[in-house]
Amino acid sequence: MIPRATATVIDATLIEVEPAAALIAVDIWAEVPDAREPWASLLPPFGVSQDLERGWRATGVELARWWLIGPLDQRSRQLAFLAEQMPDSGTVVDMTGAIFSIRIIGGRWRSLLMVGGVFDAEDPGFGIGSSVGTLLHHMTVRYDVLSDDTVIVHVAPSYAQHLLEHLRQAAAMIDAMEP
């Protein structure tokens, strides 16, 4: 006596692969950036992402570690710029190739990330600009909320195919169940 679904999915969740991008890790010795440093304003707090100039986006992934993700063709210039800006304050490491990014578009992304997940993606406090590292379908992932209907999921490239298959299968079910 379970009510049968009759609704038709008209706005299916989209799972898209992001283009390859540069990834730079920035670490500082201090636990918080010195506000007097010129690069301090580039670095958002832990758990927050923000857009920078020329298509770059910075994410606080640990208390004193940030990811800078941006256009591949600007990798060398950005590395040189950062190394010049903070010669004694921390390190700048090119991690390009270490993540694979998946863009989920649609109003049901929060429900989707609860499938096989452990993080409360449905918490209203997990809003635009929030970023968190967690587990999804037994894989380490990082979420970056771009908008109410868009989130980026970063995952190690070796897991990408497995995660894509999971997300596509789960999205089809969530779309059917929550039209």
Binding site: A5, R65, V93, G97, A98, M114, G117, E165
Partner: protein
């Protein structure tokens, strides 16, 4: 009428829509909203099953998940689901159900012959066959053939199952009056509420005992509560069972999207398993009625009074024509009113108390006070009840006995969450006390019965929950309930088995055919612990887990001991509350997704070379690139020989790689590595080992100085995650003041090893702008236009390089190297060839030689160690590590017979093992088996010929103990 939950409610079943289904091949028609049990009852089918052991005919005892008798198999093919309670599957078009535990048919079951030998097969009879004369071996085939309930499906599951996480402020389990009131109180206060109900409809007891709440019909009130829960961001989940209450507030919910055997809606999983973390949990699961003990209490037509009311009121299926209603509390009068309203003739009310609530009933029905049922009369259907009254025994014709032995609060989840229980003597049941987690209990589940009481208690529990969360309680009074039928007001103790009754046919546990006589037998045979009683008699086991039987059995046991039930104790309730389909536990982790699969950056390139994949942890790596007519061994030997004679290449992208940067990077690495690395010159590298704090080798790898303040450290594939944690621990705990950062680069860089006597010429040709770096030196270069880092490192014993490149730029580099290899007579090689090469060179590997027990000394690496200052140094000074009779690394050379990996090493046939073979292979350029091993005494036994044996594989041979180095002992081949 439409309810809050999108379907019809109560007795207002959509009788206009007929649904066809089959039971044992015969077609019936039910109505939407019917359970299978209700539909069969409406068609006057009373025989639904057979007893497990004696194969006595069985009908319906209950109307919900507590049903022990009416177990059926539902569905076909991969959707076949055995042991489904007929009371817990709702009709759908095409439902196919079959009875079970009978042959050849339900009506004529040869298993019923067991009744003739019942005296020989009492509780625990099979245990007694273990004693003497090999009896067990003679009877085992028969017992095994008869054992088990139901038959598993023979086809694979065709459905998918979803795992889903959820979080909420307040979880309310159960949507009876108490649960609904609790959910209402929490939702009105602004909490995010989950309300779950195992039934298809919300309402609980309201479905069988209709009432008005706050002036509205119960269904409308329930709809309003559901609306308030949803508008607060919560969920109302029907057909959802809270199956387990685990630590840290985690509650497992099993939500059905389709009935057993039914195809789910398009795109839907069959079930969702929710992992719900609730800040507060209100348990309002109600109570389950207990049966009474009398002879023949299992006969079709004998059922719980609450079940009789459910069939009569909710399903409009008359459970009988003439009823005897027996019990020890006022439910008998409620039941009489309810059944009479449904057109059932009330032959008698048999009240074991001398007094009782007889308001309306006294005038309407014949009542026998101070009386109890002794036995029943009938065959496959009930014909009469024999009752004992103060005036003597009476025989009353009837086809229905509705019995009420009191209410047992459903405390399973409370107990699973660590809560305690208290004995309520007036109710004759255990009630929840001492919650250990974030839970509260309300309503009948807490032993608080009656509509008004339950509503008030639920309202209180919901308010307390939100208050505990820091929210203000909702204003207003609890919902007010009103019913036009008498509410139970007083309870008594259920009567024990009458002295003239036959204990051997008075069933305590209907599902396991445990009788009062079985309990008595266990007592006589010395079983005193309730846990022992359970195992000996099987009381409370199987799919219903004693929902109707546990307390009856405990009470019988207590009577035998002249004790009270709390003194006897209660067995532990464990998850799941009701049976859970295995698919629901697996979720989407089935088939290729049973575990994460990691793909190499060069996965497609290996596919193009016809790679045969080998699981390596979660990774899939090429085992070999077999050619026509080759097996793995031949392919590996061909590939290894190409490395020895020309040049080969292997994907080593899975190696752990860490960028270690900062002014104190060298100092940090001196802590991690047991060899000296801080004084490496820029551009140079070194082999190293890393120890655990107990001095045991944890891993090995290389360290390369890429700049003044920058190092690259590699370690083994399998230990990559562990090494990342070790580095993080050392950085943040052991050396927090150091200015150093560790960046994992395992996934950032693909890595290709190029090895062989022609490797240098190939590298000279292909690397743009540099001379190939010497052994243990590095250089940055470009290959195929991609930036690469080239390390002069060898794991094969040949001149070799490791090429590191961004993972997404690896393909052109692989192609360029492959073309160069091909032009020189070589090609790619896989894990098997790599293993042959490293064994021949005596290189150790994590998981084989580095087995979590060996020290650097055991591996012959003592000369590599620094004087002090590295993790594990202190423990390494223990004298035990210097014992010469420890297991130490040796080489093994085949003399005769087999040299199997993992085999034991013994001094002579039959002697105690003195070591084992850690790795085994063959020489690549000539014949002969070789291997590495860990042997007590190690190389002090060089030259000895010892036995090698693998009894489990039936293999044995003899080997000579030699140096663990079979190829190029001077190391000339990897130097220019």
């Amino acid at each position: 009428m439409t309810s809050a939950f999108g379907t019809t409610y109560g007795g207002d079943i959509d009788r206009s829509r007929a649904i066809a289904f089959t039971f044992d091949g015969k077609t019936f028609h039910g109505r939407s909203g019917d359970t299978l049990a209700a539909a069969l009852m409406a068609d006057d089918v009373r025989l639904l099953g057979r007893g497990f052991k004696y194969h006595r005919p069985r009908g319906l005892l209950g109307a919900g998940v507590e049903e022990p008798n009416a177990l059926v198999g539902v569905g076909v093919g991969g959707r076949f689901e055995p042991n489904t309670r007929a009371t817990d599957v709702f009709l759908y078009e095409g439902l196919t159900a079959v009875s079970q535990n009978r042959w050849p048919s339900l009506a004529f079951d040869l298993g019923a012959l067991n009744q003739a030998i019942a005296r020989f097969i009492p509780a625990g009879f099979y245990y007694k066959t273990f004693f003497g004369g090999g009896t067990w071996k003679r009877v085992e085939p028969f017992i095994r053939a008869a054992a088990g309930l139901g038959r598993p499906p023979t086809a694979g599951d065709t459905d998918t199952f979803l795992h889903r996480a959820a979080f909420c402020d307040v979880l309310v389990v159960g949507s009876g009056p108490a649960g609904l009131a609790a959910a209402d109180a929490a939702a009105r206060a602004g909490a995010r509420v989950f309300l779950v109900e195992q039934d298809a409809l919300a309402g609980g007891a309201l479905l069988r005992d209709p009432a008005e709440i706050d002036g509205f019909p119960g269904e409308q009130w329930a709809a309003d509560v559901g609306g308030r829960v949803r508008s607060g961001g919560g969920r109302v989940l029907t057909r959802t069972t809270a199956s387990g209450f685990h630590d840290h507030g985690l509650v497992a919910l099993i939500q059905r999207h389709a009935e057993p055997g039914e195809p789910p809606p398009p795109g839907f999983p069959a079930q969702t398993r929710w992992a719900l973390r609730a800040r507060r949990v209100v348990l309002a699961q109600g109570s389950i009625e207990r049966p009474l003990l009398f002879s023949g209490n299992d006969r079709p037509g004998v059922m719980l009074a609450s079940a009789a009311r459910t069939y009569a009121q909710r399903f409009r299926a008359r459970p009988g024509r003439r009823a005897v209603i027996a019990g020890c509390d006022d439910h008998v009068y409620l039941t009489a009113s309810s059944l009479a309203a449904a057109g059932v003739e009330i032959a008698a009310i048999v009240d074991s108390r001398d007094t009782g609530d007889q308001r309306d009933a006294q005038r309407a029905f014949p009542i026998h006070r101070g009386s109890q049922i002794v036995s029943t009369v009938g065959g496959r259907a009930l014909r009469a009840a024999v009752i004992a009254t103060p005036a003597g025994e009476l025989r009353i014709a009837c086809d229905l006995i509705a019995m009420s032995g009191g209410q047992t609060p459903v405390v399973h989840l409370h107990m699973q969450a660590g809560g305690g229980l208290a004995w309520d003597a007036s109710a004759g049941a255990f009630t929840p006390i001492g919650p250990r987690q974030n839970q509260d209990s309300a309503g009948a589940g807490a032993g608080r019965h009656g509509l008004a009481v339950a509503l008030a208690d639920g309202w209180r529990a919901g308010g307390d929950a939100v208050e505990a969360l820091g929210l203000a309680k909702a204003g207003g009074a609890p919902p007010a309930g009103r019913s036009d039928r008498p509410a139970p007001a007083a309870a008594g103790s259920p009567p024990g088995l009458h002295a003239s009754a036959n204990a051997k046919t008075a069933f305590v546990d209907f599902q396991n055919d445990v009788t009062a006589a079985d309990i008595d037998l266990a007592w006589r045979e010395g079983y005193r612990s309730v846990e022992h009683l359970k195992r000996y008699t099987t009381l409370g086991m199987a799919t219903d887990q004693g929902k109707t039987s546990n307390l009856v059995g405990m009470t019988r046991m207590a009577e035998a001991q002249s004790r009270t039930p709390p003194d006897v104790g209660l067995t532990t309730f464990r998850p799941p509350y009701t049976p859970v389909t295995l698919g629901a536990l697996a979720g989407l982790a089935v088939g290729d997704h049973v575990a994460p699969r990691r793909r190499l950056p060069l996965h497609d390139a290996h596919l193009a070379e016809n790679a045969f994949w080998q699981p390596s942890g979660y990774w899939s790596r090429p085992r070999s690139y077999r050619q026509a007519g080759e097996d793995h061994a031949k392919a590996a030997l061909r590939e290894a020989r190409a490395v020895r004679l020309a040049v080969g290449m292997v994907d080593v992208s899975t190696l752990a790689k860490f960028d270690v940067s900062g002014p104190d990077a060298g100092q940090f690495l001196e802590l991690i590595c047991a060899t000296s690395v801080a004084r490496l010159k820029v551009g140079r590298g070194r082999y190293t080992v890393m120890l655990r704090e107990d001095g045991v080798v944890a891993d090995d790898g290389t360290v390369w100085r890429l700049g003044k303040n920058r190092f690259l450290m590699t370690s083994s594939t399998g230990g990559a995650e562990v090494m990342a944690h070790r580095l993080s621990y050392a950085r943040h705990v052991l050396a927090p003041a150091l200015r150093v950062t560790i960046t994992p680069l395992q996934e950032a860089w693909a890595a290709i090893a190029l090895a062989g006597p022609l490797a240098r010429s190939l590298m000279t040709e292909i690397a743009e702008g540099i001379e190939p770096p010497p052994h243990m030196s590095s250089a940055a270069a470009a290959i195929a236009g991609e930036r690469v880092l080239i390390l002069g490192a060898s794991y094969s014993g040949e001149r070799a390089f490791e090429v590191y490149v961004s993972s997404f730029a690896a393909a052109p580099v692989w192609s360029a190297l492959l073309a160069g290899c091909r032009a020189r007579g070589g090609g790619p090689y896989g894990l098997d060839a790599m293993d042959l090469l490293r064994i021949e060179k005596g290189h150790v590997v994590v998981g084989a030689e580095i087995d979590g027990r060996v020290s650097p000394h055991d591996l012959g690496m003592a000369t590599l160690l620094r004087a002090n200052g590295f993790i594990g140094y202190g423990a390494l000074q223990r004298p035990d590590f210097r014992r010469l009779d420890r297991l130490r690394l040796v080489g093994l050379e085949g003399v005769e017979g087999a040299l199997p990996e993992g085999a034991m090493l013994t001094d002579r046939p039959g002697a105690r093992p003195s070591g084992h073979v850690t790795s085994a292979g063959v020489r690549t350029l000539c014949d002969g088996a070789i291997g590495l091993g860990l042997l007590h005494g190690g190389l002090d036994r060089r030259g000895e010929i010892i036995e090698v044996t693998s009894p489990t594989r039936g293999l044995r041979g003899r080997v000579r103990v030699v140096e663990p180095l079979f190829h190029d002992p001077e190391g000339d081949r990897y130097r220019d």
